[in-house]
Amino acid sequence: MSLLKVTNLSVSTADTGLLEPISFSLDVGERLCILGQTGSGKSLLAQAIMGNLPDGLSSGGELALFGAKATRASRRKLWGRRLSMLPQEPWNALNPLMSARNQLAETYHRVRGDEAEAARQSADYTLALQGLSSSGHKRVDQLSGGMAQRVAIACAMAGGAPLLLADEPTKGLDVNRRDQVVQQLIAQAENGALLCITHDVAVARQIGGRVMVVKEGKLVESGLSDTVLNAPSHPYTRELIAADPASWPERNAESSPGGAILLETEALTIGRGSQMLANNLSLRIRRGEVLGVVGDSGCGKSTLGDTLLCLEKPHTGRLKRHVSTAPHRWQKLYQDPTAAVSHAATLGTLLEDLVKRHKIERRRIAPLMARLGLASTLLERRAESVSGGELQRFCLLRALLLDPVFLFADEPTSRLDPITAQSVSQLLVEIARETDCAVMLVSHDPHLIAKRCDRVIQLGGR
């Protein structure tokens, strides 16, 4: 019996189609990956199956769940117990007022029907399994993104639903955790079925089963994961696979650029507030080099950057800047560009603000924009109507106009699709070389770090 059978499912607004008709079925033990760039309509598919499309969108076609035709109301009864979804932005899906442990225990109690005491034990056990024992008492805002993701996954799985939809389950996780999550998903699918939506080719490879590649709401290729991913027939699939950091060309092994020393730290202990995160950091950063920072989520990668930028005070130790420059030449790129740009004005206005504030020569803007692949029409729009990749490049544009000597890039590509991520990270390296600016690149992807960075710092010794 097929757990899920989708016939000509489509999603559209009142006047435009967002997802063209798509058909597939999932039997017990089967796994299916929907692969595609951000904005290709993958998430809409999951929402259409769950029956929680946002207002203004409607779905067409037929849907059968567990052998019965599903209506919007009948699906609601299945939520949690038979049909479960891992949401994309975990911090929005969790209760901001409850501790991680309590909300997990509540899910075991209310959804699976455990006794209160048994539910608490199950919650503790699951948290320990996820490596979160020491964070169980924390609320969502006290958890790092990766930790919140793991709590959300635990909650979604707590009901023991046989049919699991996972919408970008590994976004923002480091490789170890990613593999762990994927293993968990596969284990879950043994007795049920798994539909996984991802832009990460590596995840699709690990999950195996079947793959459907979606581009701009259209199915371009489908088949067994091995066949599609090893011998792609559609050019878009080939492009997607080539953009996976693992398949990037090797860095040409030129000798590390030995510019003047920019920044030196001695026995630095860093932390946020009173919490110590990493100690005894002694590093030397030279101009023009690209320095990678890796480590588990929550180990203080972002805090290290903030400390070097003097946004956070070091607990102990010394921090010495060897060049005396204006403070605005120490810049930062953020993980989520939409949160890092004001939405109150057009990008052009924001750029104009910067030009006026620092008396930047206007003629520098156009060539730099062309270099970053930004169209001038982009400046007429606001941050919310621009894609993440474009916005990240706009942030880079603003930083570059300030002639930075140091650029801290905090997972600048983790929210971008692979094709954009490749070009943005490549740009960062080129710029470091050309402008003699030191770039500190944080990422949880070891391939990306290996192929982009001259040196790597490992935080939180494993």
Binding site: L311, P327, A339, S342, L354, R357
Partner: protein, 264 residues
């Protein structure tokens, strides 16, 4: 803005308020009467072609008196909203972004004011200098800025911690820029709702004080005062008592409709 939505509560609120404003400011100009002239030979007259809303117990023209009273209420509401918003937003941003001691002092101050019922506080002020419009204005504003302060402080605190503000700081922008591009755009949508309710409250407070004779003093026309003055004649001239009541109800209703549904 996408045209005017005729079914929205905000549209009807604005329509009622505009009509009342138009009446309040145009009626005294159009009429040959004035609000203070008494004519004891024609008291409690029914509305007719010369006295459009009749006359009160001193034979004063109600059409003009009601307009005067509305003018006073609208003026008070506008002044109170502007003043309390200005003070509340400024101090709120200061508390959220300034030094910790400023936040503590301001927070303590608001807690003290909140501990007293607003109307009692206004009553105390009004009793110090009965009948003074400006004293009432100071008293009502003093109570109302708290709400703007609390909302502004909560929003600004959150925005101040966002990457966007950190990024602007790193790029060398100053405090004023942060207010203009980050804090104000986050606060502004919330203000219209508070302002609409604040205006309604200011109008009601002034009327309440008039009703207990510590607000505006006769012979000036004020809605609360008119209600209590006309009260003895409710059997002989019910239309007379109804006029300020209906005017007050419409005014408050229009403000509440304007507040609309909270923007999400």
């Amino acid at each position: 803005m996408k045209g005017i939505d005729f079914t929205s509560t905000r549209f009807w609120g604005a329509l009622i308020l505009l009509t009342l404003c138009l009446y309040a400011f145009a009626a005294p100009i159009l009429s040959s009467q004035d609000s203070a002239t008494q004519d004891l030979s024609s008291i409690l007259r029914l509305p007719d072609s010369t006295r459009w809303l009749g006359t009160d117990h001193f034979g004063r023209d109600m059409w003009v008196r009601l307009a005067d009273a509305l003018q006073l209420s609208l003026l008070m509401a506008a002044l109170c909203v502007l003043t309390s918003a200005l003070i509340g937003v400024t101090l709120g941003i200061l508390a959220a972004t300034g030094p910790a001691w400023a936040d503590r002092v301001l927070d303590g101050m608001t807690t003290v004011i909140l501990a007293l019922p607003g109307l009692v506080l206004v009553l105390i002020f009004a009793a110090i200098l009965p009948g003074s419009f400006w004293m009432l204005y100071v008293a009502i504003s003093l109570v109302q800025w708290i709400e703007y302060f609390r909302v502004t402080r909560a929003i600004t605190r959150q925005v101040a911690r966002s990457p966007a503000v950190q990024s602007s700081r790193l790029m060398g922008f100053g405090a004023l820029y942060l207010v203009r591009r980050h804090y104000w755009p986050a606060i502004a949508p919330q203000l219209t709702t508070i302002a609409a309710f604040g205006a309604a409250n200011a109008i009601l407070m002034m009327a309440s004080l008039g009703f207990v004779y510590v607000g505006i003093q006769p012979p000036l026309a004020e809605l609360g005062l008119m209600i209590v003055e006309h009260f003895p004649y409710y059997a002989d001239a019910p239309w007379l008592l109804a006029q300020p009541l209906i005017a007050l109800a419409l005014l408050v209703l229009s403000c509440h409709l304007l507040a609309g549904r909270t923007a999400r």
